[in-house]
């Protein structure tokens, strides 16, 4: 029993070490005073200061956040509508085709989606003159497109777990279908929508491939910038940036998790 549990514990430690030591080393080296990213030269927070002064990085970060928020919001809107249609409209005609079309961006290789979107944007520009410049708009559309699928799946699974007679009861008590959606359906799927928004936001913040395809000159997102900088060697300010992103995402996930837990408790009964 002891040997067994020792084995289990060492596997656990090894597993976590494998996952987190790389992240930890990034955090540790972000406080490195040395200009060389891999040589320890004493503790310092100078790279965080440098980071703020680097306009290239701050503008890329701002662009990424702007795209993330917009794309996540749009994807949550459309994804929720699609999820409701999938879970509540029964067996309407061409339902399986609709399901396939909604969910296919999840399994489509990003390279292909990216290429297809780029071709679309280029030919649209030739036809109607829009989009004149590729950047915020095109990346947002690209991110929305594939994030819809994730939101739809989350909302749909939440709805299928929910008792359909809740909505019927509200209708029976005099609620018109639209009111019932506002009063009953939306509050109950709100945790799923929040989870979907956060997932969409993270996916957008994380994406390199799609953004690289559909972006134009001057429209560099944070991952694109990091990727291009790393090609010239890892600099300590990138470590500082990565640390900030880790902290930001951890806090965000913790908040989302606690909200979802509280709302989930409300609606579980």
């Amino acid at each position: 029993m002891t040997r067994n549990s020792r084995f289990v514990i060492s596997m656990l430690v090894f597993g976590y070490a494998f996952l987190y030591i790389p992240l930890l080393s990034v955090v540790v080296y972000s406080f490195n005073d040395s200009r060389l990213a891999t040589v320890w030269g004493g503790f310092s927070t100078r790279w965080y200061g440098e980071l703020l002064k680097n306009e290239q990085i701050t503008s890329a970060l701002f662009l990424s956040l702007k795209i993330g928020v917009t794309a996540a919001t749009l994807a949550t809107l459309f994804g929720t509508i699609a999820g409701i249609a999938l879970a509540r409209f029964g067996r309407f005609r061409s339902r399986s085709l609709f399901t396939g079309l909604v969910l296919s961006p999840m399994v489509m290789p990003e390279v292909i989606t990216g290429l297809a979107l780029l071709l679309l944007f280029v030919s649209l520009q030739q036809l109607i003159g829009w989009p004149g410049q590729r950047g915020f708009g095109t990346i947002t559309i690209a991110h929305t497109t594939f994030a819809i699928a994730y939101v739809a799946v989350i909302v749909q699974s939440r709805l299928s777990a929910m008792d359909e007679s809740l909505e019927e009861a509200a209708m029976d008590l005099g609620g018109r279908p639209f009111r019932v959606m506002i009063d009953i359906t939306l509050p109950l799927i709100a945790p799923a929508m929040l989870a979907g928004w956060l997932l969409a936001f993270t996916l957008s913040l994380d994406d390199l491939v799609l953004a690289s395809f559909v972006s134009g000159p001057g429209g560099s997102t944070l991952p694109m910038l990091i990727f291009s900088k790393v090609k010239l060697g890892v600099t300590p300010d990138i470590n500082a940036l990565a640390t900030l992103i880790i902290v930001f995402i951890s806090v965000g996930v913790l908040i989302a998790w606690s909200i979802a837990r509280r709302m989930g408790k409300d609606s579980s009964g």
Partner: protein
């Protein structure tokens, strides 16, 4: 909305059918329910009873036929416009609202003034004895409490008809018995017409003024609980409600209301009373309920009664009654139940005892096939 003057029943279904693809859930059903009734629709799963209820509520549209309520054709009205409320089997209590807000929901949709809503919600809470739990969230309630919230919520709008889908199925036995009587009291107090769907025949018997026994989308019999139990019209109803012993036989003689039936299964002639006896020589099914049969060690001397010799094959002691499985000479098994009137530990009847079973001719039911 058309007002129909021909109909006088409070709820009337005319040739109502519901098809789901090829499956016929409800098969051109006619039904009249009077005002103030506590009407039960009783049937096994898949018999169409829930579909029928959902058509009354407006969640399903009949494939054909019309539904009238208080003289008004409501067939095409959506659920939110019908003066009908429903208590769902799952109770469907809104999990994100307090008890109070759940009950008030329907009144808010009617845009009633605030103090009237408060008044009526308060009265309902009192009626179902939930005043002290008004601010609770549903996940802090027990099953019985949730049932009462659901009941209050469906009654607060003062509907013309309350539909109840298996209202007691989710409660445990003791609570169910208690709640049955509470439901009847509330119905009596408010005078609202109740239509109950249930698969539990005991529940239907106790609650209802009338019962409709449903099978394969059609009504097999509609009548008062006593009539349905004591005078089942056919084999299905007799079998479905309670326990019954059946014998196949041929009418030998029918004179002045007294029918004599010969049966290979009983081994002796069976007697029945009937105002409209079947013709001589016709094949019939004869039935008798276990509690109508006497069991004795000696042959009873009343020659008017049906009397058959047999052997006790099995017996079960239930406390209040004893149940006997008696094997006749023909091999047929007959169920007999007897009240345990004496307080005694000694058993008078034992396994393999040779006994006689007998019953009055008027207890015999002649069933249509």
């Amino acid at each position: 909305m058309t007002v129909d003057n021909e109909t006088h029943a409070f709820i009337e279904l005319r040739n109502v059918s519901k098809h789901f693809g090829d499956f016929v859930a409800v098969d051109s059903v006619n039904l009249r329910i009077e005002k103030g009734e506590l009407f039960s629709i009783l049937g096994g799963s898949g018999c169409g009873k829930t579909t029928l209820l959902r058509m009354l509520a407006g969640f399903e549209e009949p494939t054909s036929g019309r539904i009238f309520l208080d003289g008004v054709d409501i067939t095409d009205q959506p659920p939110y416009e019908r003066p009908v409320n429903m208590m769902f089997q799952s109770y469907a209590i809104f999990p994100h609202m307090t008890v109070e807000k759940n009950i008030a929901y329907g009144l808010h949709k009617d845009r009633l003034p605030k103090d009237e809503i408060e008044d009526r919600v308060g009265n309902m809470l009192k009626l179902v004895k939930m005043e002290s739990l008004a601010k609770r969230k549903p996940d802090q309630l027990s099953g019985g409490q949730r049932q009462r919230v659901a009941l209050a919520r469906s009654l607060v709008k003062n509907p013309k008809v309350l539909l109840l889908d298996e209202p007691l199925a989710a409660l445990d036995k003791k609570l169910r018995e208690h709640t049955q009587f509470e439901l009847m009291n509330i119905q009596d107090k408010l005078g609202i017409t109740f239509v109950v769907v249930t698969h539990d025949q005991e529940e239907a018997m106790i609650l209802s003024t009338r019962i409709a026994v449903m099978e394969k989308g059609r009504f097999e019999q509609i009548g008062k609980p006593k009539v349905v139990y004591e005078y089942p019209e056919n084999r299905f109803v007799a079998d479905f409600i309670g326990t019954i012993n059946t014998f196949d036989g041929v009418v030998q003689d029918a004179q002045s209301g007294r029918v004599i039936i010969a049966s290979d299964e009983s081994g002796a002639s069976l007697y029945a009373l009937s105002d409209s006896p079947p013709a001589k020589g016709s094949a019939v099914c004869v039935a008798v309920r276990p509690e109508k049969i006497y069991i004795s060690q000696n042959r009873p001397d009343n020659s008017e009664d049906v009397c058959l010799p047999g052997v006790i094959e099995d017996l079960g002691y239930f406390g209040n009654i004893s149940l006997y499985r008696v094997r006749l000479e023909t091999g047929k098994i007959v169920l007999v139940s007897a009240q345990n009137r004496q307080r005694t530990i000694d058993r008078t009847l034992e396994w393999d005892d040779e006994i006689f079973i007998s019953w009055r001719p008027r207890s015999t039911v002649i069933l249509a096939e």
